[in-house]
């Protein structure tokens, strides 16, 4: 028990020593509940009338040349996944039922199909990335020049939340509530908060001409500073709720996640090459952000994308162009715990602290750090599968 924790206990207890009296609270609550029930009853009645009207209009509007969609609010249909849908059948047919069902969202063309009962049509035909966020799904178009981000709600409505995003220039915080984006190297970084109907609290922060938005780790936006070829050789972390003060960290090319203490960050040393990568710890909460506790891992491709588990204990990296290895990060010299098939362009996703999902042809390999693994079939046959990371669970 630290002094701070003791002080917190005393402070919180002291703050609530004398709460004000709550007169007639139960009566007020019951009256409010009655109003809510009356309103719900009225709304459900109206919804029934509206549904019948829309059904009639829908039949009328089925014609060869459909009306083009509205630019900012598209109505994307949401279909329940019934017992006849392929994903539901695949989940039901798993040989070993999971004690705790784990959710998988899969991108299928311009749709996302989920194991928790929905199929959502995205407002763009080709997407480069989709995130599951508390308010729905955040989809990023696959345009090569300037991309557009859309929030797609569970009720099917879509809202454009950002545009003119350079490829790779969008980052979402781990809670799935805040996002940051940039139009290109050196352009201002926009930050905003996702809401149920789009975004709010948008702020624009200017940066120097070589600054690149790299990602979002914990509460920090990760920025990179590179040369003319945009090779990053130093990084900075910025809490966007506070003004930006540059504290560049030389020799680090990216920040890949939170360390096991949930406070420090894990950075990747620039210049990692060949079959070795080196990682360091960074402490953004302290006054000194000097990298420390360098740790190198052999047997992985220096150009591999690195994926750290949410608790910082496990690292996933490509050992060659066909496989990834899972490495424990709580030992000084990590040795691979497992090798899993994963082609160069496949992107594993952590479902929780101990479960890694690896897309395969026609299925998803579920690997637990305990060593257990099984495969879940998903629709699409031999097609490549793209998993949707879930944020804010």
């Amino acid at each position: 028990m630290t002094m701070l924790e003791d002080a917190l206990r005393r402070t919180l207890a002291a703050r609530v020593q004398s709460p004000p009296p709550t007169h007639d609270l139960a009566d007020r609550v019951i009256r409010r509940a009655r109003r809510v029930r009356r309103r719900r009853t009225a709304v459900s009645g109206l919804a029934g009338v509206l549904a019948m009207t829309l059904a009639g209009l829908g039949a009328w509007s089925l014609r060869p040349d459909p009306v083009p969609p509205q630019p900012h609010t598209l109505a994307a249909p949401v279909f329940p996944v019934t017992p006849d849908t392929p994903l539901h059948r695949a989940m039901a047919a798993r040989a070993t039922p999971s004690p705790k069902p784990f959710p998988i969202d899969v991108i299928m063309g311009d749709q996302v199909e989920t194991t928790d009962g929905q199929r959502v049509t995205l407002p763009v035909r080709q997407v480069s990335q989709v995130y599951r966020v508390p308010t729905g799904w955040l989809a990023l178009s696959a345009d090569k020049a300037a991309q557009t981000a859309w929030l797609v709600r569970a009720d099917g409505r879509s809202f454009q939340v950002a545009d003119d995003i350079t490829p790779g220039g969008l980052a979402v915080d781990p809670s799935g509530v805040r996002l940051a984006w940039q139009s290109g190297p050196g352009s201002p970084v926009h930050t905003a908060q996702l809401t149920i109907d789009g975004k709010t609290d948008e702020r624009v922060t200017p940066f120097t001409s070589t600054t690149i938005l790299l990602g979002w780790v914990g509460q920090y936006v990760v920025l990179g500073d590179g040369n003319k070829q945009h090779v990053v050789n130093r990084v900075d972390v910025w809490d966007p709720t506070e003004p930006y003060h540059p504290t560049w960290i030389d020799g680090v090319s990216s920040v890949i996640g939170l360390a096991t203490d949930g406070v420090q960050l894990v950075g990747r040393l620039a210049g990692s090459d060949g079959d070795q990568i080196c990682l360091v710890l960074l402490d953004p909460s302290g006054r000194d952000v000097t990298p420390h506790d360098k740790r190198c891992v052999n047997g992985v491709m220096g150009t591999s994308t690195l994926t750290l588990s949410p608790d910082g204990r496990w690292l996933v990296a490509h050992s060659d162009v066909h496989n990834v290895v899972v490495l424990p990060m709580d030992t000084p010299e990590p040795d691979p715990t497992a090798t899993l098939p994963c082609d160069w362009n496949c992107r594993p996703v952590w479902a929780d602290e101990t479960t890694l999902l690896v897309p395969q042809r026609g299925g998803v390999l579920r690997f637990r750090v305990s060593g257990a693994r099984d495969t879940v079939s998903v629709p699409g046959g031999g097609d490549e599968i793209t998993l949707v990371p879930r944020l804010g669970d």
Binding site: R9, A14, V16, L25, A26, V29, R37, T195, D201, D261
Partner: protein, 214 residues
């Protein structure tokens, strides 16, 4: 009447006592519908017994008494509606508490985009406790600035004395998330208090935190 009900919903009993709704199970699976007046009376009793405790938690989540009362009223309304709809809630107080915490965090997402003005603090500390009171005021001011989810974790862990597992269940997140949010909140408090209050420095008091980094 009130005394008896308060005892029934006391700290030990409240966690496991179900609050019945429209139906009451009778022997041989016979079901009868309880009069609406009975349901309301039962809800009145629960509110009378536990509203002050829930209001305290709401205050720590919201930051001021007016918002806390609004938050509590919203949460109890949801609880009451669910109770009627579901035909009974096992362990009503944990249910209400969970609704309270989740409503608080969702309010923050929707409505709280700026800092709230700090209310006038009661200042009746004895002379020899003035410094302690000032320290508490500073700490409380920083707690109020934390993101809603982190503040909720601190309230559940350090005011309600809930375990990490129970906190995770109440918030609907993993234990790992509770640990990381708690750690992050404490680090933020240490950082903000650091300049004014060196006694809370992390490295000297808890060196293992740094060493656990990997």
């Amino acid at each position: 009447m009130t005394v008896g009900v308060a005892a029934a919903y006391g700290p030990g009993d409240a966690l496991c006592r179900p609050l019945r709704a429209g139906r009451v199970a009778a022997p041989k699976e016979e079901v009868r519908v309880a009069p609406a007046a009975d349901l309301e009376q039962e809800f009145h009793d629960f509110v009378a017994a536990r509203s002050q405790a829930l209001l305290r938690t709401a205050y720590l989540l919201a930051g001021d008494w007016a918002t806390a009362e609004d938050l509590l009223q919203s949460s109890l309304t949801k609880t009451y509606l669910a109770w009627r709809r579901l035909g009974g809630i096992e362990a009503v107080e944990p249910y209400a508490r969970r609704v309270l915490v989740n409503t608080a965090t969702s309010w923050w997402r929707r409505r709280w985009h700026g800092e709230r003005p700090t209310e006038v603090l009661p200042d009746r500390a004895a002379p020899d406790r003035v410094e302690e009171q000032l320290d508490r005021d500073a700490l409380w001011a920083y707690v109020k600035e934390l993101p809603a989810r982190q503040r909720a974790v601190l309230v559940l862990r350090f005011y309600e004395d809930q375990s990490e597992a129970e906190t995770a269940r109440l918030l609907g997140v993993s234990v790992g998330t509770v640990k990381s949010q708690c750690s992050r909140a404490l680090a933020t408090l240490r950082k903000r208090l650091g300049a004014a209050w060196d006694g809370y420095g992390p490295a000297e008091t808890e060196p293992t935190v740094r060493q656990e980094g990997w």
